[in-house]
């Protein structure tokens, strides 16, 4: 397994969010984390990235325990997060946003470079010299994905990958993710568009109040609309 989360318990002060959550992601897989708002999806991701320290449980990445590691060390180990709200650097240009973080952390033979990312996202290439705060929401999301890709991660995590985007831009992001998936990039994605996630991912984890409510394949999730209704409100 590339990533293995076992019995994760995370709290913000006295308010516990995760209660023994477990999930795993194998190399080359696309896995989703689904659930209604406030169920603990972002907290799970934050715990994996070291941004929220878990109270209990184990997180193993490429055979190494990381639940007590600092966020920068976890990222350097090869996990890249595209955070909710994009969080690009507004006063750096598109190119600078990429140049600042370009590094081959996974030692790929054919690594993602700034030029390769700009080739992958032609819209970004057109706006390479524009500042981050001059981009549309979709372009910012592409930049956030590109910024994660130039670190050449083993695992790419996307929190609310298409939230707040116009339908056309959302479609563009889904196509990009499908291409990344086809290229063998391991992905853990959080989003609400279950129809697209079923097409994109291999396996899914539904969480309810900080606990795993259901885990299964795309075919199983697609077949059981009761799950959609019960855990996702669809």
């Amino acid at each position: 397994m590339l990533l293995e989360v076992q019995g994760l318990e995370t709290a913000y002060g006295t308010s516990q969010v995760l209660f023994g959550l477990s999930l795993c992601v194998a190399e080359g897989e696309a896995v989703t984390l689904l659930g209604r708002n406030g169920m603990g999806k972002t907290t799970t991701v934050r715990s994996i990235m070291g941004l929220s320290r878990p109270r209990a449980g184990a997180i193993t990445f490429r055979g190494r325990r990381i639940e007590r590691e600092r966020p920068d060390r976890i990222a350097r180990a090869g996990i890249a997060l595209v955070p909710e709200g994009r969080q690009i650097f507004p006063n750096l240009s598109v190119r600078e946003n990429l140049v600042a973080f370009a590094e081959n952390r996974s030692g790929r033979a054919d690594p993602w470079t700034v030029e390769k990312v700009l080739e992958f996202f032609p819209r970004l290439a057109e706006r390479a010299e524009n500042m981050g705060n001059q981009l549309s929401g979709g372009e910012q999301q592409m930049l956030a994905i590109g910024r994660a890709l130039v670190t050449n991660p083993y695992l790419l995590i996307l929190d609310e990958a298409t939230e707040g985007l116009a339908p056309l831009l959302r479609e563009e992001i889904w196509k990009c993710l499908a291409r990344l998936r086809a290229a063998g990039q391991t992905i853990l994605v959080i989003d609400k568009y279950i129809e697209r996630l079923v097409q994109l991912a291999d396996r899914h984890t539904l969480i309810e109040r900080g606990r795993v409510a259901w885990q299964g394949t795309s075919a199983e999730l697609d077949a059981d609309r009761n799950l959609w209704h019960r855990y996702l409100g669809v």
């Binding site: 966020p71 969080q87 946003n97 600042a100 973080f101 670190t151």
Partner: protein
Amino acid sequence: MKRSLPLLALALAFPLAMQALDQLFYVSFASRVLIYAIAATSLNLVLGYGGMISFGHAAFVGTGAYVGSILVAEGVTSAWIGWPAALAVSAALAAIIGAVSLRTRGVYFIMITLAFAQMMFYLVNSMKAYGGDEGLTLPQRAELGFGLDLGNEMVFYYVVLAILALTLYGLHRLIQSRFGRVVVAIRENEARVEAIGLPVYRYQLACFVIAGAVGGLAGALLASHGKYVNPNVLHWLQSGTLMIMVILGGVGHLWGGVIGAVALLSLEHLISDYPIPWLAQLAPNYQQHANLGVGIVLLAIVLFAPQGIAGLLGRRRRARA
């Protein structure tokens, strides 16, 4: 950088014009302005680009001033030894202060940098062998060799101008580099940079040390310029003056430190040396309170041009285009 060529030409011609007008005082005054421009530019790196509100930059300027002065007082008059030594000792001090201070954030960072600078102030105050609180008078300016007499105001001016030009070019290249981009990214969202996997502390410390080193060099030049140094060069008011220069000139603008130094020192000079008759009638001692005028200008800049004079000029240029 190409746009700065006319400014460079002006700076090159200035002492020749002053010499022709027999106003060499203004060449010495301009040298002092340029030295402060170097110091303010170094502070701008941490304050403007790095977003670290250091209130102790005088510690590095002062340390550089004392290292350069002590070496001259001890007979080591070569600028090739004195100035690099000032730079190195200030860099080492910045590494120590930065290593502790950068573990804090916000108001604690401001207070801890201020506290370190005040500690250095009291330390040099107690150095009786080097003048204590009365300061240290130097027999001469540092020597550069190659037939360049730094005792000559014109030569000193051009040497300082060359160092300022190198400082600005270095800062420009640094900010354009990957290191500079990361430093700016840290200023904008430190947590995100850490989450992307870069060691924020190390980048900030490197930035702090570079700024401290350049500040130290400015200090050595300052002591050489006046052939005198006293503990006030390390006082927190000195840190405040440098900060005012950066704010006035433009926080995070390449030319911010230079514009701020020129504006502040010229304003002080104008207020104290050129009386305004109607104001003198109204308040006879107003020229002794030049800082009041500076305060009013600073207030206006903060309220109406928060990006400083450099930001204001940039806005006008964009509007014209």
